[in-house]
Symmetry: C2
Subunit: 452 residues, 2 copies
């Protein structure tokens, strides 16, 4: 059935106009650079037919060679700064990662009048505003589709496709590693540590997995999406970030019993009270499409006031999927290389002068429903005490699971779903519950979102 | 939780540059025009902040008034041709539908040097090539995001977001009416006719439902998507089209038992043998995300050689969702109003000179797996005869459901899933099976796609 094959769909009817020669300089030669080079080579005819340009790699800057792509025909230099100083280079593709050398490289390239394409989410999240200001002063483009959700054209969709909308909220599975771990925990009942080790062996997770499993990578991507959605400056510090290390197989199973899936979401929402930015494990009704996005795949749900809910799904990482976005950006930039800056899509989707600070809603004021799991003594009156504490705080119980104690067990798990309640009210109530003699240990709490 | 609210996110720091005034003339005042006008009015500040232009409706041409939007502040003219002759109008938004007056209107508007935004799938599918040629000669844009899948930015995603890819295939739920009917049949066990009546009452289906339920509307959309994906001229005649009128609740239930959902798909695929374009009911494995797209919602799955499979989901119809795409196009066109034509995205994603005929694969040569349902006499040897006919034709049986006859029934239903087989081979085998004495009536056949 619909099986993959590689073909060149286009036989140029005439040679591409040599006046539209566009020269690319690539910095870095890792996985994404290899994917990018392979695509530019393999799909040259379709890329030129779409762009109307003759797009050619004239230089690659990398400290080392790479076996993932053929560099035999490429001009490879060991000093990446040679690339940005090469007068023949029109577009610099920054694929070295990190925020120190990459920042210096990109700012110098801009100073040299080069357009920039980058896949570097940390760079954009931390230094985007400074980079965009420099680029604007110089009249060049900075394109970064590959920085969020790999091959999914989510930045283009928000920035251009949904440009008519006031974006109300977005919620995304924007880290493949955590989604792979949560999927395996659910599908196979495996423990977090066990799956993490496999993810590391498969190359989905780094040796130091903190960046992924603690949500730092997702927070970089979320802050970029939020700026595009709401027209606010990039500010990573405003993102509340919670990882998945405390999620147990028990939680995954109880969530399932209640009709939910646990996903690690990045959520940005704008209400009359302010803008919320948060990354945390979340129970989602299993009927939602995004609840069924499994494995290393990514998906972003975007709610606009005119369009309603839309969803974008695809590979969030990998050389060629990410390279697909890098090359898509190269084509966009190539097409408008000589256009007046105001004819290009602005960096964050809003004209720079309209990117303004808006009220930020601190975490303690955010309202969510909640999944609570606690270990209760198997004796009369416990539930009544808990219910009283919750009720006194204005919190109601929407669903509950309480099972009979196993023979010999003095402790039973008690699972509650609350209504939508302000973070600080819930926290106060949980502190009281945790002081009860009949409750052992701390209460496990996971936020719940209906995503409607 | 993430609930909808309407807000203006942007407070302009300074007035928009009056030199970037962009004047819109709208033809038509139906559902989509009302949605478009409402969005342009309600979201003016965000639209101007994104586009960097002051986008203003200067004239609306409509034979009648409309209660779905406020026209009190609008300059409404009864002759739609006044709009395209108005020297103040920069962009003509064609929302009258149909292919006769709309074609004349659009071609005259182009001749007058107007840029075009349209939601008219029939117009683009039937006359797109002629319209694009006229627009190219005049150096103006024709934008038609709203023509396919309503508010989903699927045209932008294929044409720009995935521009680096050789698109291998795409498959879409691109008609909300048929998806609503199939969803109700599955969820509630209702019969086709019964659900169709409800769909008509709800306004999802027209009084004459042929256009939707026979797949004509979907074929218009498919031919547009295929041209964008493969760089081929628009040719509706090449689409094989089969509706959903013969799908019974029994089929829906047996499909479910086999682990599949029945969806009405538009499929475009390019292989070494040629390009296939087909609209028909399809069994899809229930685990696929697109199998879980229910109700009136649309979704398109696109497989690129670099990015892999990506999916785009959202509302496929309705005034504001479709208006979201119309206004998104207006913003794109406004931004590049004064750009050189080669700096704009080409009409079909490929530079016009690269849009070329490619070999078309006739339906009888297409290969699919198949669901077969037949009424067999409840006596020994029947299955063996059927298996022999299939096996002699090189067709293998991958799965089967045969239930015991109800008491007194001489006929039992027999359901088979075949391997992937060429259409003409299957048809020949089915003819033989239908001549068997032990088979009553014709064989129900629905194609199966794995969409991997």
């Amino acid at each position: 059935m619909l099986r993959g094959i590689h073909l060149n769909p286009v036989k140029p009817a005439r040679p591409v106009n040599p006046a539209r020669l566009v020269n690319i300089g690539i910095c870095g030669l890792g996985t994404v650079a290899s994917g990018t080079i392979n695509i530019l080579n393999r799909n040259k005819s379709v890329i030129d037919a779409r762009s109307g340009c003759n797009i050619t790699i004239v230089q690659v800057g990398a400290r080392r060679d790479n076996i993932k792509c053929d560099t035999s025909t490429l001009n490879v230099t060991r000093d990446i700064f040679d690339v940005i100083n090469n007068p023949d280079v029109d577009i610099v593709v920054e694929l070295i990662g990190g925020t120190t050398v990459a920042k210096e490289l990109v700012l110098k390239a801009i100073a040299n009048g080069k357009h920039i394409v980058t896949a570097n989410k940390a760079l954009i999240a931390h230094h985007g505003d400074e980079i965009f200001a420099a680029a604007k002063a110089k009249g060049v483009t900075v394109a970064f589709e590959a920085a969020v959700a790999g091959g999914i054209p989510i930045i283009k969709s928000i920035r251009e496709g949904l440009a008519a909308n006031n974006i109300e909220w977005l919620a995304g599975i924007i880290n493949g590693t955590t989604n792979f771990i949560l999927t395996e925990m659910r599908d196979k009942g495996r423990a977090f540590d066990d799956v993490l080790k496999e993810a590391q062996a498969l190359g989905y997770a780094e040796a130091d997995p903190t960046f992924d499993v603690e949500g730092i990578d997702a927070s970089h991507k979320l802050v970029i999406l939020a700026s595009l959605a709401f027209g606010i400056p990039l500010d990573v510090k405003k993102v509340f970030t919670e990882g998945i290390t405390k999620i147990s197989t028990e939680d995954v199973n109880y969530a399932e019993e209640l009709g939910y899936r646990i996903k690690h979401l990045g959520i940005a929402r704008r209400s009359a009270n302010g803008i919320e930015l948060r990354v945390h494990p979340t129970l989602i009704p299993e009927k939602r499409l995004i609840a069924n996005v499994d494995g290393v795949m990514n998906a972003v749900l975007v709610k606009g006031d005119a369009v309603g809910a839309t969803l974008y799904y695809g590979a969030g990482a990998g050389g060629e999927p990410t390279g697909s976005s890098v090359v898509g950006d190269i084509i966009d930039v190539a097409r408008t290389l000589l256009a007046a800056p105001e004819q290009r899509v602005p960096y964050l989707g809003f004209q720079t002068e309209f990117v303004t600070e808006q009220k930020h809603l601190p975490m303690e004021e955010i309202e969510t429903a909640n999944y609570l799991r606690m270990s209760a003594a198997d004796k009369p009156g416990v539930l009544s005490k808990i219910a009283t504490i919750l009720s006194d705080s204005g919190i109601s119980i929407e669903a509950m699971i309480q099972k009979e104690a196993k023979e010999g067990d003095a402790i039973v798990p008690l699972i509650l779903l609350t209504n939508c309640v302000q973070e600080k009210k819930l926290m106060a109530a949980l502190s009281k519950i945790e002081t009860l003699d009949s409750i052992s240990g701390s209460v496990q709490r996971i936020r719940v979102e209906s995503l409607k």
